[in-house]
């Protein structure tokens, strides 16, 4: 079976897919890729099912050797990438031959980069998914010596790229009121949206700390509410009124009050914000939120149609020989990442 052998790996790399929705009643949060858009982009580039698993690399990539011919795609936080020493474009699909080495370096912007294999990473599913959920005891981080087996690849073009939505430098997060918003006074809710935040140092796949100057955002007059359900995007206020945006791997229930819920389509921006990145919140109505989310989902479905060859080329892009020529041309450019980030 073709796949990758892991020679070196960063400290926060794990196999991820769309996670395990439907197990809240048993205390298992859905988990899955921190940046679902990156998962969808990789699937679009390889023309395959977005439910397939990929390797999520937090902050730092690794070195991998192909055990057979493979299609790969690179998405999410742009990282330095090279195949046998030749630079590879990010946000693009490529071909690897048996024995070739892929090196992926540190994230240049953002946090989570993704390495996709044609056919997906076919580790053994647990509870109907391949997503690693360390806190739940489901799987573990990838370690040197591991093998990442590829599933059966239907095949297709490589040397494709797509325009990448820039979500790697913070920005605006749209937020809707949720069932505990009324615990916060209108003044606190308004001030929350007027405040400039920067991402704090405490951040992982469960949640991201937001720091600001001035007073915290305490709930009014109550500290002892019952533990209630947590959904991804909930903005929880800890005892001192400091916000944490909770992500898909957060616990299923919690007792800290939550001021509102960030739209699912803006969660990649939360997960991908580096420490110090500027972020702010904007309240939207439920109707606006639903319409923004529906628009996002429509765009996700349309992603495969937006893929195009890395460079215009008279030859057949799927032909291996001409592909390698294209790859060489890309590596000679001043910035091999420009393809994905400028659009």
């Amino acid at each position: 079976m073709s796949g990758l052998k892991v020679l070196k790996i960063g400290p926060a790399a794990s196999v991820q897919d769309q996670g395990r929705p439907g197990l809240l009643d048993q205390g298992v949060s859905r988990g899955g890729a921190a940046d679902l858009l990156a998962l969808a982009e990789g699937a679009a580039l390889l023309r395959q099912d977005p439910n397939l698993a990929a390797l999520e690399m937090g902050g730092m990539g690794g070195t991998f050797e192909a055990t057979g011919p493979l299609r790969i795609a690179l998405t999410g936080a742009p990282m330095m990438a090279a195949l046998d020493g030749s630079a590879l474009a990010w946000n693009a699909s490529h071909r690897m031959e048996a024995g070739q080495r892929l090196e992926i370096g540190a994230a240049r912007r953002g946090v989570y980069g993704y390495l996709h294999l044609g056919g997906g990473i076919s580790t053994e599913p647990v509870l109907c998914a391949r997503a690693t959920h360390v806190a739940a005891g489901l799987g573990r981080l990838v370690a040197p010596g591991d093998r990442l087996p590829a599933g059966r690849d239907a095949g297709g073009d490589t040397g494709m790229t797509l325009a990448c939505e820039d979500r790697f430098g913070g920005g605006e997060l749209r937020i809707v009121e949720s069932f505990q918003s009324a615990l916060f006074s209108p003044e606190v809710r308004a001030r929350f949206a007027e405040t400039e935040f920067r991402r704090g140092s405490r951040a992982n796949r469960m949640g991201v700390e937001m720091l600001s100057e001035g007073a915290g955002f305490a709930a009014a007059g109550q500290l002892n509410i019952l533990s209630e359900v947590i959904v991804p995007g909930d903005v929880q206020m800890t005892g001192d009124g400091k916000p944490f945006v909770l992500l898909r791997e957060a616990q299923t229930t919690g007792g800290y009050p939550r001021i509102g819920t960030v739209l699912p389509c803006d969660l990649p921006k939360v997960a991908q914000a580096q420490a110090g990145a500027q972020l702010r919140f904007r309240w939207v109505t439920l109707e606006e939120g639903l319409s923004l989310q529906a628009k996002h989902e429509k765009a996700l479905h349309a992603l495969p149609g937006t893929c195009h060859p890395l460079l215009r080329h008279p030859g057949d892009i799927s032909d291996l020989l001409s592909y390698q020529l294209v790859s060489g041309a890309v590596s000679a450019m001043a910035d091999p990442f420009a393809t994905g980030e400028d659009s």
Binding site: L23, F179, S227, E228, V231
Partner: protein, 250 residues
Amino acid sequence: MTARAVPDFPIIRTVGLSGMIVTFADGLSEPSNRATLAFRNHLEQLKWDGVLETSTSLASVYIRFDPGDVDHDRLRTQLQEQLDSRNWLQEALPLGRRFWRVPTVYGTDLAPQLAEAADAAGLSESQAIENLGAARVRVLTIGFAPGQPYLGPLGEEWDLPRQTELTPRVPRGALVLAIRQFVLFSAETPTGWRHVGQTGFMLFRPHSDRPFALQAGDELQFEPVSRSDFLKLRDRDEHMGGAMSQEIPA
């Protein structure tokens, strides 16, 4: 008919973009927890279009749905109709629940905070073991970690606050106590609750045919055994530690 304790309850609120929560009380009580379990069970049987998942917390039912299949107004109306159809605080618990008897060592080096918990409850250690070992508690909700139950309610003498300092780690199977509830831990964890008992009961086995041992509404009794008997049971039965269950008759 009993009037509702607070006229505002039950209430329906939205959760994020695609959820609703039905809350029966703002505090934990036996009737509000029973209403929660009964209402959730009822919704599961209705199998409404667009509803993707339901779950319960101590006194609320959460409904996750696809707003493309059922819009907020319609779902809210449907929920309100079901709430109005009967007094959920007087509903019986769902059928198919199980009763578990779980061998438990109280105190000793395996559960070192029994003495301080007994002291805080105004009981001797042997009284505390007798009291806790005789309590038949309900899985009020499962949450926070996979398969991890909140159990209760215990008697009022056990209304102990959480510790201000966290205990850095208690092992899997630890029975801890605070605020008239037990938690039985499904994995090693830090906690602010007091470690009064130890069991060999594995609640979450992701690779087995039955990954989750418990369902909300199940009942448990933590029957006292000696330290040496506990160790024998755990060696003989590494997954269950001697825990046995039977279906609760209607």
